[in-house]
């Protein structure tokens, strides 16, 4: 049995008994077998003393129960760690930031409180998954499209609070950016509604996010300033049509004007997330072709060598798939406009018309529909990237730790970040995941992501190596100003130490907030580097 740090067994047991009284005895988990279900399946410290494991878990079903749990935690100074659906794989899963915390599992708070079709919003509790909300909308034939992240079993609340993203137009795929209004149990057990939710009798809680006075919703993301119990989200009206089209460009340096033109359509909100690719570079991840491996034999090639290589391959250097949402007349017109602009900007650009669909996809065709998240259909198909496959069959990983570096939206930055990651892998003696044809992900419309997936194992020796690689990638990227936006508790202190402008002024501000809002330091100690004063010590 694990206890929270500096808490006596007597106090812990007294708190657990009060949790039982608050939520019912069957919803407090204390046996080793049950508590083990809150381990991070993808922990990079699996089975080691540093693994962040819980002491217990408590699963309230109502806001009042959350408040009671928080009051009890204050009474005994028990650290809590709230989770929504607790998926968040690669970023810590359902395990706490600090070993010995009591997980507050909000999965039972699974009510869809409102979906307004005409005003295009939803109000949900934390335990509602994207699958749940999707099925609710479809069963009622509501003309709304839900923006979903790659894995659909997470929750809109948890995903947006951790800055998750999806695939529709920029306005919707920033999941926190598309939220409107929240309800929060404060660390002292009070209940706050933000924006128009603070105005009694208001009907605009999910329509105007700011209300009056300071806008505080952001402080509840990647933080430990409260437990969010409700959130509103803006939804996309179901578009009449979905049209795809692919553009290819011949030369290596065509990547820059390709990005510039895509960004024009992106910033006008005329497209969903563009899907960049490289017909020469091969798949998103995986080993380079033999020709490319030969080119890379002596390290990163010069621009001239890359152009010569591309010319010899007789295939386009880059591609991008664009996705248009709207009435058929406008999506067709926008694709025509794209063809005109790209042809003018990039000599040799070629175009392939894609499919025109009329959402929603009929139920009987949903299973076989490709690219489900682009049509607002939740799925788990993204896990094919990391599940056992012919390449990994003899030694599949048990999980992965994702490192997403945010880099400027320009070709030179993509290449620079790819090279930084490539060299970090090489220094470790590991086959690099990146090369000169690596392409960015564009979850957030104004910024590119260069992603690395470091394997994790239920094996200490292998994890030690993965940790070394992960830290090296994080350090090297930070030196170049490429910041990671989200990481597991194992690396949150390290990550926040990179955001160090003016002697870590940002973290110091977070700490001041923490000391004021949560004087007993009971909510998620250490989350994203924010430790309560009593635990700060020499940490920052």
């Amino acid at each position: 049995m694990v206890l929270p740090p500096n808490i006596s067994e007597a106090d812990f047991n007294a708190a657990v008994n009060e949790f039982r009284a608050a939520v019912g005895p069957s919803w407090v988990f204390t046996s080793d077998e049950d508590v083990a279900l809150y381990r991070d399946s993808y922990s990079i410290y699996w089975g080691e003393p540093e693994e962040r494991v819980a002491s217990a878990a408590v699963a309230p079903a109502k806001v009042e129960e959350v408040q009671q749990v928080v009051r009890t935690a204050n009474k005994y100074h028990i650290p809590l760690y709230p989770i929504s659906t607790g998926r968040n794989l690669t970023y810590g899963g359902s395990a706490p930031t600090m070993r010995g915390s009591v997980v507050v599992d909000l999965k039972r708070m699974n009510r869809i409180l409102e979906v307004d079709e005409k005003r295009a919003f939803a109000l949900v509790e934390p335990g509602v998954s994207y699958f749940d909300l999707y099925h609710y909308i479809r069963e009622r034939s509501l003309k709304l499209m839900l923006d979903v992240p790659d894995p659909g079993w997470g929750s809109p609340v948890g995903n947006s609070l951790d800055h998750g993203a999806g695939y529709l137009t920029a306005h919707f795929r920033d999941h926190f950016g598309s939220h409107c209004g929240m309800e929060v149990v404060t660390p002292e057990g009070d209940l706050v509604r933000t924006g128009m939710g603070a105005l009694p009798n208001s009907e605009t809680w999910q329509e105007f996010r700011y209300g009056a006075g300071p806008y505080i919703d952001g402080i509840f993301t990647q933080s430990n300033f409260g437990i969010v119990t409700k959130m509103g989200f803006w939804l996309m009206p179901m578009p009449e049509s979905y049209l795809t089209g692919t553009i290819t460009v011949p030369r290596y340096q065509d990547f820059e004007p390709l990005i510039e033109e895509v960004s024009y359509f992106e910033d006008l909100s005329l497209i969903g997330m563009p899907q960049y690719g490289s017909p020469i570079g091969g798949g998103f991840f995986g080993p380079p072709s033999p020709d490319l491996a030969a080119l890379m034999q002596n390290g990163w090639p010069s621009m001239g060598a890359l152009e010569n290589y591309v010319a010899a391959q007789k295939r386009p250097a880059w591609s991008v798939e664009l996705n248009f949402y709207g009435p058929e007349e406008t999506v067709r017109a926008n694709w025509q406009a794209a063809k005109r602009r790209f042809a003018k900007a990039i000599p040799g650009a070629a175009f392939q018309d894609g499919e025109l669909l009329a959402p929603p996809i009929p139920k009987e065709k949903e299973t076989t529909q490709g690219d489900k998240p682009r049509l607002g259909i939740p799925a788990l198909e993204v896990f094919t990237i990391t599940s056992r496959n012919p390449m990994t069959n003899s030694d599949p990983a048990d999980g992965h730790a994702d490192f997403f570096a945010y880099v400027p939206r320009k070709a030179s930055a993509v290449w620079a970040a790819a090279r930084v990651m490539y060299e970090a892998y090489r220094e470790m003696g590991m086959p690099p995941m990146h090369g000169p044809f690596s392409t960015p992900i564009n979850y957030y419309s104004r910024c590119f992501i260069m992603a690395t997936l470091v394997p994790t194992y239920r094996n200490a020796a292998k994890n030690a190596r993965s940790r070394e690689l992960f830290a090296k990638v994080m350090d090297r990227c930070a030196e170049h100003g490429f910041g990671c936006y989200r990481t597991s508790p194992a690396f949150q202190d390290r990550l926040m130490s990179k955001y160090s402008f003016n002697n870590n002024a940002l973290l110091r501000f977070h700490q001041k907030l923490k000391d004021s809002i949560d004087p007993n330091g009971i909510i998620s100690p250490g989350r994203y580097g924010i430790w309560p004063a009593k635990m700060r010590g020499n940490r920052a």
């Binding site: 999965k107 039972r108 599940s387 999980g399």
Partner: protein, 118 residues
């Protein structure tokens, strides 16, 4: 043979004979397991390939010795199913009791071992 009859034969008529537990087990399976372990793959996925992760992984693991689709297996043991669901296996994560209760897991076991019993 007509497609509907073929399907009936392929399933051993088990759909008609489902107990309440097996029926609920299928519902839980469809919600929690099928998105990775289903029988029908999508046309393509965002990052290439056209496969469901669980089914694809088992196809590689077993190389045809047993079906890659869990619902077609006749060799699954209740204890093994419960262990994998609760502990995870490779990329498949742990499933908590607030997600799939012990009673629901029993129903999934009943559903997945139907073929073995008949």
């Amino acid at each position: 043979m007509r497609p509907a009859l073929l399907l009936f034969v392929a399933l051993g008529g088990s759909l008609l004979a489902q107990t309440p537990s097996e029926k609920n087990g299928k519902a839980v399976f469809d919600k929690w397991c099928a998105p990775c372990h289903g029988a029908v793959a999508p046309q393509r996925t965002m990052f290439g390939g056209s496969a469901l992760p669980g089914t694809a992984a088992l196809a590689v693991k077993y190389q045809g010795k047993v079906p890659a689709v869990l619902e077609q297996r006749t060799d699954l043991k209740p204890a093994y199913i419960k262990t994998v669901v609760r502990h995870g296996l490779y990329g498949m994560p742990i499933t908590r009791k607030t997600e799939v209760s012990d009673a629901e897991l029993d129903d999934v076991v009943a559903y997945l071992t139907t073929n073995r019993k008949k």
